[in-house]
Amino acid sequence: MLQAIFYARFHPERGPELFSQWPPGLALFRGSIESSNGLLEFSELSTFLVPPQDLTNRALSVCVNGYRILGFPISLEGAHYPRNRFAFDVCVVLDESLEESWLKSWEAVVAKLARFMRDLEANGSTKGMLSREETIRDAGGEETGVVNKVLKGVFEDLAEYGECCVRVSKSRVLNLRLSAPTDDPVTTPKVQIWDVPLLVRSLQSFDYATLDLVLAQIAPHVNGVSHVKKIAQLADVHLPLARKAIRTLVRSGHAMTLDIFHFQAVYQLTADFAWFVGDAQMIDECRGYIAINPADNILATSWDAATRLRASEISPLTRTTVIELYSAIDGTSPVAEFCIAHEMHLYNIDVRRLFTFGIIKGFVRRRQKYVVGSNTSNITDRASNAARWKPESDPNKAWRNAAFSSGWATPPVHSPTMTKDPLPSGKQLRDDLDAKLAKYLDGQHCIDQMCVELGMTEKAVLARLNSGAFGDAAVLLR
């Protein structure tokens, strides 16, 4: 994978040139080790290795002759440099055929390496270390070997162990790690406030010490049941911060997001179900995940003794039972109906986990409901009356702002100050609610979103939508 690593620089008189490479004996560039052969031609690539100034300080890679050269050219300005500029680039040479997922890992490594080299030159006790090294070489003196040391350490250890630790000075240590790529690299996952995060890798307890405060605070509430908004409320964390923290978890592969589970939700099997059925190991994993002690089954609480007995006779949780239960998901009935239809077989099964497992593995998908309203234009007019009533300020918002600015943690004891208008009537409140709902009726907002953002249940939302205030509101199941 890693063929070589080299340090190219911009010489004030000679222009771009190769300064150092590792392995030193490799004919990397034509003429680089007094060999007429070479993998690459430096002069052809110099524009990319030491690029125009405005393309510096960012990742830049080029493919040539079957190799991919990953660099992160650095340009430092300073009056003490010849031409007021010091430019260099530490590049790794990889096979062009490298998988894209690995490429991401290498890009991160190269970026960190570049930042380290920049800091060596620009900051702290090592300030000017690279330019001195170059000057000594140019003057024909004996080099400190810092560039070679870095190149050697990075090349040999990264190739061998996938990580490296190179100490350059007492305070400057380069630590690099080539993370194994994930199958489906997540770039910037979207996390909505109605998403339900589920940890798929444990956050070990010692990690909490190094987690940021928000993550540490929300982590106990990430349980695969609560949605982001609820987690933020439970953890007493500002909602955008909670979203950001959860996104970090998703991005790092520690969590994934699910839909809200409730008994009105509708699920559908996907074509991947065949894969699940054919994988006995997966089915066993499922059995282990969904099985519960019948005493904990909320569905069984209302059963009489005879039903309980009958159920216990039916149900050792076999592979066939699992498959048959999943096969019975019909794509149109809500979970509640599914539970009623298969009450006996669900005796020792956690229904939520049954569906969640399918979603995690990708052979079950949630069908979201979207609403298209035919008559939303006059709703907002009516709402303008309702808008007369509102708190002068949102007490929760004020509370949070104060908490985040001063650190005090006690909510205000006084009730929100109202305007002098009389309290709204039931009709005014309904109009206000209708105005809010009307914004969601363009067919692009799922009911989960409405429920979470408006703090309502699905049943209440649908009841309001079917009240006739919105004309014939069409509920689409997608």
């Binding site: 405005d54 830049l60 890679s61 894209e100 066939t320």
Partner: protein, 601 residues
């Protein structure tokens, strides 16, 4: 097909002549990108710092994400999205936009300085005829540079009159325009610092006036024209990292299927008729008009190449076939989809129907061959309700020929292979139902199928329960229009077939085998039956044979298809039996408990 962009961000044309490289064309122009990036980032609080851990500049993510949210499309209901895309990236037709009015050769493109881009996108001769790929900050630029062999005689073209002109007169005319048009700040830029005007006319250069290649004659890239012979041209495609899942293309695909064939075609036209040289000059000239009029339409009105590049980009970005005309020569470009075809056996293909994705008559008229050609016959005979096996029989064509033509249609995205539509099948709202286009689809549906219920009545009804499509029609006489409507809805990704898949279910286990706790066991891999399973299947055949000999005989064949992947809806065509008979067989198996089915999408 629902709109899913593939991460393509822009198309650029860079040329090199004696004074140096020039960025001649870019679509879309993104000179306004930095403002948009900062706006995007500040618009969502949770995004703050989202890229800080990447170690790279986060701007590329913002660019690609921004473009990911936009859907450029010309000539269809998505046109509005195209406008959004163009607006966001800073290019607009007929708009007064300072950023776009400055033209592609100024400021920032894809958040990169256009002058620097010119330099890095005009590599040396080493790159001639090879794949060129660089990535800057997460944006990959892929092309296939072509170095023009300049030892040939200049060809006669419509643009180049042979009558001698006065270079000074011509130069004066253009020069005056240039003086008036080039922004003052550009005059200090490299290559144009000493020359406010063009010294020679286009024709004078082509007809042999020497260019000294000094700064005085340098075209640079700042509103002054090329007066030199073209040494190199390079069509570059910029690809971001945030294409839609499953639709994202990589640099190799872009090179292999787009950049390389396009460059090869342009090279041919350049050799034949200096096509690229002429078009580059037109582009440079019209960029001046663009500058004056604050409109980019002038570019497209004057340059066929600009239009071709723009249209290719718009189509390719949506993974559609780009059909463009270059010097009156038609060229089709497309990025092949990761192939579902290879997953289908010939038998499955024959059990499928083809759903034409274009209007039948326009497809026929676009064919260059005569109307009685096999391909025309296939298009005429095809019906989404008719399996290919039946079509082959009716046309008396060999299976090889039919499959070859079907592959051709699929490759050019003129058709899609589907399970034959049938009134007895169940259809439901597609997981990919394009909600953002729903309003337009409803209007189009009403316009096309006025006698059928509105889409907003139909979709909720289909969501309430799985209903056979035929049951939606109140009267059998309406069946045809309902089937036509179904084909349209499937073509538009509104509905999908709810597939019934199945497994054979074997009776109770015998002692000594695994899964003793099961009353039933499923055959999950019918292609590789164990000895015990084979034995039990033999018993099933024997038992079935007592009541239905034909079913008994065909059971092994049916079992092989009961693997959870093949849709039962395709079985009748695979087995060559009538659907009604097949349904009876399935009922027999179900009644005996030998069949477990599931409905999947």
């Amino acid at each position: 097909m629902g709109y899913r962009h593939n991460g393509l961000l822009a198309v650029l044309l860079v040329t090199r002549s004696r004074p140096g490289p020039k960025l001649v064309f870019c679509y879309p122009l993104s000179s306004a990108a930095p403002d948009l990036v900062s706006r995007d980032q500040s618009s969502d609080y949770e995004d703050d710092g989202s890229n800080s851990d990447a170690g790279l500049s986060g701007q590329s993510d913002a660019i690609t994400e921004r473009s990911a949210a936009i859907a450029p499309k010309r000539g269809n209901p998505d046109h509005r999205e195209d406008d959004d895309f163009v607006r966001q990236l800073g290019l607009g037709a007929g708009r007064s936009n300072d950023a776009s009015a400055r033209g592609p050769r100024h400021g920032l493109l894809l958040d990169l300085n256009s002058e620097s881009l010119e330099r890095v996108l005009a590599p040396g001769r080493w790159s001639d005829g090879k794949k060129f790929e660089i990535a800057v900050n997460g944006v990959t630029f892929v092309g296939h540079p072509v170095f023009v062999k300049n030892d040939r005689q200049p060809a006669k073209g419509p643009e180049r009159e042979q009558r001698p002109r006065s270079p000074s007169a011509d130069g004066q005319r253009v020069g005056n325009e240039a003086i008036g048009d080039v922004p003052a700040e550009n005059e200090s830029m490299e290559g144009s610092s000493n020359t406010p005007a063009i010294l020679g006319s286009l024709d004078s250069t082509v007809s042999g006036d020497a260019s000294l290649g000094t700064s005085a004659t340098s075209s640079s890239s700042h509103g002054v024209f090329a007066t030199e012979r073209l040494d190199m041209f390079h069509v570059v495609f910029a690809v971001g990292s945030s294409g839609a899942k499953g639709a994202k293309v990589n640099a190799n695909q872009i090179h292999e299927h787009v950049a390389k064939p396009l460059s090869t075609a342009l090279e041919y036209l350049e050799i034949q008729d200096n096509y690229v040289s002429r078009e580059s000059k037109k582009l440079l000239l019209s960029s001046q008009a663009e500058h004056r009029n604050h409109s980019s339409e002038a570019v497209y009105a004057k340059s066929e190449l600009a239009t071709a590049l723009r249209d290719s980009f718009v189509s390719l970005r949506q993974n559609e076939v780009a059909s463009v005309s270059l010097d009156h020569t038609a060229l089709m470009l497309l990025i092949p989809e990761s192939n579902t075809l290879s997953m289908l056996s010939e038998k499955d293909m024959f059990a499928s129907a083809i759903l034409l994705l274009d209007d039948r008559s326009s497809m026929l008229s676009s064919l260059s061959s005569d109307p009685s050609s096999p391909l025309s016959s296939l298009i005429l005979a095809s019906k989404p309700t008719k399996a290919l096996s039946k079509i082959a029989a009716s046309l008396t064509m060999s299976t090889t020929d039919i499959l070859e033509m079907v592959r051709h249609l699929l490759h050019y995205r003129k058709a899609r292979l589907i399970v034959p539509l049938h009134a007895g099948n169940v259809y439901t709202a597609s997981p990919d139902l394009p909600l953002h286009r729903l309003e337009g689809l409803c209007v189009e549906w009403t316009h096309r199928f006025a006698s059928l219920p509105g889409l907003l009545s139909l979709l909720p009804a289909l969501g309430k329960s799985y209903t056979k499509w035929g049951e939606m029609a109140e009267d059998r006489s309406e069946r045809d229009i309902w089937m036509e409507g179904l084909a349209w809805l499937i073509r538009k990704d509104v509905l999908v077939l709810v597939k019934t898949v199945g497994w054979a279910r074997l009776p109770k286990q015998e002692h000594g085998e695994e899964n003793q706790e099961s009353e039933w066991t499923l055959i999950t891999d019918p292609a590789h039956l164990s000895e015990a399973e084979e034995h039990r299947v033999d018993l099933m055949i024997e038992e079935l044979g007592k009541t239905d000999v034909e079913l008994g005989n065909r059971l092994p064949e049916i079992l092989r298809l009961l693997d959870g992947e093949h849709a039962l809806e395709r079985f009748p065509a695979c087995l060559g039996v009538k659907r009604a008979k097949f349904q009876t067989w399935m009922t027999v198996l179900k009644d005996r408990g030998w069949l477990r089915t599931a409905q999947v999408v």
